[in-house]
């Protein structure tokens, strides 16, 4: 009995010592960021061909690291957007006139060309703040707020994430939640879905401001496989509800035999659309599920970053995204990084080239090219270097290309010869400068 007691005391003493050492040792060996500021800045030009959307954007991400790996990150982005965007109207062999979104002017597109609305001009300001707080040795808690404002749109969001390390920090499991409350106040008012585009000055089908709520959940595991390989897998769920339309997008009403857009005459003395168009209508709810996997592999100084994402939603859109980056050092202080991304999506079940005017309209319809069936490729090259003051600079140039299609049996009459998917070619040029570390 005495021996047992003696043993148990020595065991207790030993474990107490271990616990003390255990409590101290990890903090001593654990890599800690030096407290201080880190600024990540960038200047971006995004330009689409054929005078479509052009964006000049400036961003700053400032991180203040404190003792014990606590950190405050604040972000600011300002976008200046101009250019034309497809409004959804289908190709016609004759010129087409549309009423602009504001409802107080018209614009005409030439025969046989893509219906582009060039009245688009906007400035977007986005801010964010995020706090990172490690606790109980193995946990990290992150919480953040975000807001952005455009002329016709406002976003407010909050998010939180908790992570826990396992297996000597070789495994990290995390779970996050985000909520966004967005509101839209489109130029000229929100059009009632499926109502006709009206003459100039007629705003009778416009309703007030609209709301959209988005709830996101993400759970993920990050796993160190070996000294050179780390992988991550995430599942995310996203639910959007409220007004999910693009208030500026329309659908053409077409003749069921000829496929031509039905002509229309504006009221006497008024300017207005030359053909029949209705405002698009999307469901007021959308649920998305995504699976994401990423691997980073180090090979003698070179780093391969490969990721894949599968997404499916209840609008019948399925997509696959493969992203590959390869960082290739050149000397001690610079590197090249080629980037290749492939994306493919199936169309939403309410995507339409046009709606036949002789049958009752469906509940949902959109001709937004972003809801159609298309593939996209991004190919780019980045060059990065460390300056004499040990700051990081990089410049990247990328080309983004979308090519879409619609099955021939979905086209009627003149659509067969005239339909063209609003394919997209864009340039991404970004200059980044990171300093303060």
């Amino acid at each position: 009995m005495a021996a047992t007691k003696g043993q148990s005391i020595s065991v207790s003493l030993a474990s107490a010592t271990c616990a003390l050492l255990g409590g101290v040792t990890p903090a001593a060996v654990q890599a800690q960021e030096e407290p201080g500021w880190d600024f990540n800045t960038s200047l971006l030009y995004y330009g689409e061909d054929a005078d479509r959307v052009q964006d000049l954007s400036i961003s700053v991400l400032a991180t203040r690291t404190f003792m014990d790996d606590r950190a405050l990150t604040m972000g600011l982005t300002v976008d200046a957007l101009t250019g034309a965007t497809p409004n959804g109207g289908q190709y016609q062999a004759v010129p087409q006139t549309f009423t602009s979104p504001s409802g107080n002017a018209v614009f005409t597109v030439p025969a046989g060309t893509l219906a582009l609305d060039d009245s688009f001009r906007d400035t977007r300001v986005a801010v964010s703040a995020n706090w990172t707080q490690p606790f109980s040795r193995l946990y990290t808690f992150d919480a953040g707020l975000s807001a952005s404002k455009e002329y016709d749109y406002m976003h407010l969001g909050a998010n939180a994430k908790i992570s826990r390390d396992f297996n000597q920090r070789n495994t990290t499991v995390s779970a996050g939640f985000a909520y966004a409350a967005d509101s839209l106040n489109p130029v000229g008012g929100t059009p009632t879905p499926l109502t006709p585009m009206a003459d100039v000055g007629d705003l009778s089908n416009r309703i007030g401001d609209q709301d959209k709520d988005v709830v996101d959940f993400v759970v993920g595991v990050t796993q160190v496989i070996s000294r050179n390989l780390v992988v991550q897998a995430n599942y995310s769920f996203s639910d959007s509800s409220g007004y999910l339309n693009d208030p500026y997008k329309i659908v053409s009403l077409v003749d069921g035999i000829t496929g031509d857009v039905v002509p229309r005459t504006p009221a006497p003395g008024l300017q207005g659309p030359s053909h029949e168009y209705v405002f698009e209508s999307r469901p007021d709810q959308r649920t998305k599920h995504s699976l994401y996997g990423q691997a980073k592999y180090y090979m003698n100084g070179k780093v391969l970053d490969a990721s894949y994402r599968y997404m499916t939603d209840d609008w019948d859109i399925d997509s696959h995204t493969v992203d590959l980056r390869f960082r290739w050092p050149v000397g001690e202080r610079s590197y090249f990084e080629p980037h290749l991304r492939y994306y493919t999506q199936t169309e939403a079940n309410f995507y339409q080239v046009g709606l036949v005017d002789s049958v009752p309209l469906p509940m949902y319809a959109s001709s937004d090219y972003r809801l159609g069936n298309f593939d996209a490729i991004t190919a780019g090259l980045k060059y990065g270097w460390t300056t004499r003051n040990d700051n990081d600079m990089s410049v990247r140039l990328e080309l983004y290309q979308q090519r879409g299609s619609i099955p021939a049996d979905r086209l009627i009459g003149s659509q067969v010869g005239l339909f063209e998917y609003p394919d997209l070619d864009a340039v991404i040029l970004q200059f980044s400068y990171r300093f303060g570390r």
Partner: protein
């Protein structure tokens, strides 16, 4: 919280526990270029561009958004 820890523990015991490296073998994994997100600003830029032009978003993190993107 309890459910989270339980699910996390199950996931971990399911097969991850035999993988990984010792703390003193983390030299490579600690490098900037081996972080899952190397450049947060570039990642945010890309997420925003593709959110605006495609029908998918998120995956790596939250779904993004916050714009009436045209």
């Amino acid at each position: 919280m309890k459910i989270f820890v339980l699910v996390a523990s199950l996931l971990v015991t399911a097969g991850c526990s035999s993988m990984g490296v010792e703390p003193w073998d983390r030299d490579v994994l600690a490098k900037d270029e081996m972080q899952l997100t190397t450049d947060a600003l570039e990642a945010a830029t890309d997420d925003h561009i593709y959110f605006s032009k495609e029908a998918s978003s998120g995956g790596r993190g939250f779904g993004g958004g916050g714009c009436g993107c045209n």
